[in-house]
């Protein structure tokens, strides 16, 4: 959990309604965990002639990243380490791309091992085969050159503007560490990428960030305004992860690392990457065994994780229920403007719809959260998330309402005008109420789609249910149990929603009450 994970992949937002996103993640977790097929053992790897190692090339430097000179090639000290490891095993290395927080799920399926800044923890010792350490990391506090805090201890008392706002990679060792220190006057802000928090410190939104020291060293040139504050702290080791049922492969990897350490090849590698090879060797040679964690009972697991999951489910509800009414209101206004507004505004509104519909939701969230502060408008993450969702969905809602307005027979408008109603009165009392009834089903299904799309907001530090599940599943290794709990929580939310929308539809279809 100490990887230099970069930005999440920019996934296109899928439109069909349903619980696709979160449920797919949950179900995939279930299926992958359940189908832990027999993993390739040492003999299979040798017979195949390839060691398949998994990492996330979006993670960034110095671990694994696309080569600047040739983006088709990979660079990074772990790329070279994997090559050495494969060579020692007498096979060729083959890279397998995966999403960082799901990398362990690839073991036994498409990958033999994971090499991507995976931190050695008691939980991982219990759930996977962990190799002996190949790298030692420590956490580093990073701040602006001209600003406080000027030492880690400064975090113990409130800063000039109250509690310190400190960015971390969500689910990383840095986050775990800071959250385990309630004595600090720190508000922890979780990001999906390490670069994100550096940018936010640089632009003044955050006071500081905490991450693996090697990551900051790698990116220091790019962020001239930033500096390492104080000495590295709370160190640990990276380990090569392999499947539980491959003891011989794991043992072979240990032997190979031992040889690479002994004959100086690993030191040379780290020196090439400016990673203080001598220092590294001293540390990983002396690495002591980490005892595996005891397996928690299901009851204890649920007791520990449920409050966090429920809290994040609340965030999912909050995001949907705040943003959707806004999206509907804006969408309706845009639809009316495009259908009945003055000719001058029609192309403007059409442009609004096409821009918002034609660009991914995630990019819009990035723009609102990361770019607006550069012009002096820094919005809190939740406000940015609600705004982004509302604007994005308003484009889709407006198209639905436009179709709804066109579906109201022309005679209705003429009849209203003939009674002396103005155009706006006719819209308000005759056309819009009928259009709303016509489009009820697609709008309802869009609400459910938005419910699902809230998971994208984790990209701008808002942690909702799907993200919380990923993080907890990764840190506890209890993929199946947590998937079930998460799925139940989603059902608890979706069921009332479905009932409510059916009730609403029925209500609109019933004869209205007599004139007021």
């Amino acid at each position: 959990m100490t990887s230099a994970r970069g930005r999440r992949q920019l996934r296109p937002v899928r439109r069909p309604a349903g619980w696709g996103g979160p449920l797919t993640a949950v179900v995939c977790g279930l299926v992958l965990a359940a189908a832990a097929a027999a993993a390739a053992e040492l003999d299979d790897v040798r017979a195949r002639g390839e060691l398949i190692w998994a990492a996330d090339q979006e993670g960034g430097g110095p671990h694994v990243f696309p080569d600047a000179d040739d983006p088709r090639k990979l660079a990074g000290f772990e790329v070279e380490f994997a090559a050495l490891l494969a060579e020692e095993l007498g096979v060729k290395p083959r890279f397998q791309q995966g999403q960082w927080d799901r990398l362990p799920l690839l073991l036994g399926r498409t990958a033999d091992c994971v090499i991507n800044g995976i931190e050695l923890t008691p939980e991982r010792q219990r759930d996977y085969r962990c190799s002996r350490p190949y790298f030692a990391y420590a956490l580093q506090l990073i701040g602006r050159r001209d600003a406080l805090p000027d030492a880690f201890d400064a975090l113990a008392t409130a800063g000039p503007t109250g509690r310190w706002r400190v960015g971390v990679l969500t689910g990383s060792a840095a986050e775990t560490y800071l959250r385990s220190r309630p004595d600090l006057e720190v508000d922890v802000v979780g990001y999906d990428g390490t670069i994100d928090s550096l940018e936010q410190v640089s632009s003044g939104v955050l006071d500081a960030a905490v991450m693996d020291d090697c990551i900051f060293s790698f990116y220091a040139d790019r962020f001239g305004r930033l500096r390492a504050v104080g000495r590295p702290f709370a160190g640990g080791y990276y380990t090569v992860l392999s499947a539980r049922d491959t003891p011989r492969l794991s043992a072979a990897i240990d032997e190979c690392i031992g040889r690479l350490v002994a004959d100086g090849r690993l030191k040379a590698l780290y020196d090439r990457w400016d990673l203080a090879g001598r220092q590294q060797m001293l540390q990983i040679r002396d690495a002591t065994e980490v005892p595996p964690a005891a397996r928690r009972s299901l009851g204890a697991l649920v007791r520990e994780t449920l409050p966090l999951l429920v809290q994040s489910a609340g965030m999912t509800v909050l995001l949907s229920c705040m943003s959707f009414p806004l999206a509907v209101a804006v969408g309706l206004a845009v639809a009316v403007g495009r259908t009945y507004g003055p000719p001058a505004v029609k192309p403007l509104l059409a442009g609004y719809v096409e821009v918002l519909r034609g660009t991914p939701l995630m990019l819009q969230l990035y723009a609102i959260f990361f770019l607006l502060p550069k012009v002096g408008l820094a919005l809190p993450a939740i406000v940015a998330a609600i705004l982004g969702l509302a604007l994005n969905y308003s484009a889709y809602e407006s198209e639905i309402y436009r179709a709804g307005l066109k579906a109201v027979p022309a005679g209705q408008f003429e009849a209203a005008l003939s009674l002396g109603l103005s155009k706006w009165q006719a819209l308000r009392h005759v056309l819009v109420p009928q259009a709303v009834r016509i489009v009820m089903p697609p709008v309802t299904s869009d609400f459910i789609a938005l419910f699902k799309d809230t998971s994208v907001c984790s990209a701008i530090t808002v942690i909702e249910l799907t993200k919380r599940y990923s993080v907890l599943a990764l840190s506890t290794g209890r993929i199946v149990e947590l998937a079930l709990v998460t799925a139940l929580l989603y059902l608890c939310m979706s069921w009332p929603l479905a009932v409510l929308s059916r009730w609403f539809e029925r209500r609109l279809e019933q004869p209205p009450t007599p004139a007021a």
Binding site: Q412, L417, L419, S422, V430, Q434, P512, P514
Partner: protein, 227 residues
């Protein structure tokens, strides 16, 4: 009450109305007859500004319509005094029968809800539909719907009501019940203009008949002489 002076209108190169002139005195019923495509409905829709025309002029219920388009507020004021009943009824599908009748008095005239409601119930009784106040338009027969549409127009207490082929979409039985309501209004002195194919009805209801042919007034005269 109504004076149409030399109104002409063309649509995509075709002359739809050509120098049409007619007058309708207060308390009279003017029937406009003629074959399909002769411009009857277009002429009627010019009378409340749903259509524009290119030359001539219209005076109706104290309002003046010039060639070309008009400011929306001017048309809204005119339409308070000039009601319209459509061939396809065009009742507001999402409102109850009573709300259909009450909407414009409340929204346009600003009548208090209770007063609008009282007026609506009275008018529904008058067209024989007092029992259907809470029903949805879609549950009513065509004849019933058209009678609601007439009540809806009457609720604004217009000085003139325009009827655009009010019974063309109805079977004979329903036609009878709607025509009865219109004839009743005529006896009560309501000024009306009725576009119709039904000569027997025109003879019964109208005081003056205008016959259009290819956009021109072919003949006009007292109903008794014309039909």
């Amino acid at each position: 009450m109504i004076t149409v002076s030399a109104v002409s209108k063309s649509r995509s190169g075709m002359q739809v109305l050509e120098r049409v002139s007619l007058t309708g005195a207060e308390g009279t019923v003017t029937a406009i007859v003629g074959p399909s495509g002769s411009g009857k409905s277009t002429l009627l829709r010019c009378l409340n500004g749903l259509e524009t025309f290119e030359s001539g002029g219209i005076d109706i219920a104290g309002h003046r319509l010039e060639p070309g388009s008009h400011a929306p507020t001017r048309l809204e004021r005119l339409r308070r005094d000039v009601g319209m009943v459509f061939q396809q009824f065009n009742l507001f599908a999402h409102l109850s029968v009573l709300d259909n009748v009450c909407l414009a008095p409340r929204v346009v005239l600003g009548l208090p809800a209770a007063e609008a409601r009282g007026r609506g119930i009275e008018l529904l009784d008058r067209v024989g539909l007092g029992d259907f106040a809470t029903a949805r338009p879609a549950t009513l027969s065509g004849g019933q719907q058209q009678r609601v549409a007439i009540a809806r127009a009457l609720a604004m207490r217009p000085r003139v009501i325009l009827f655009d082929e009010p019974t063309s979409a109805l079977d004979p039985v329903m036609t009878g019940e709607v025509q009865e309501v219109i004839v009743d209004l005529a006896r009560g002195g309501q000024t009306m203009v009725v576009v119709t194919h039904d000569h027997a009805f025109a003879r019964q209801a109208a005081t003056w008949v205008v016959q259009l042919d290819a956009g021109r007034v072919a003949r006009q005269g007292p109903a008794a002489e014309m039909l």
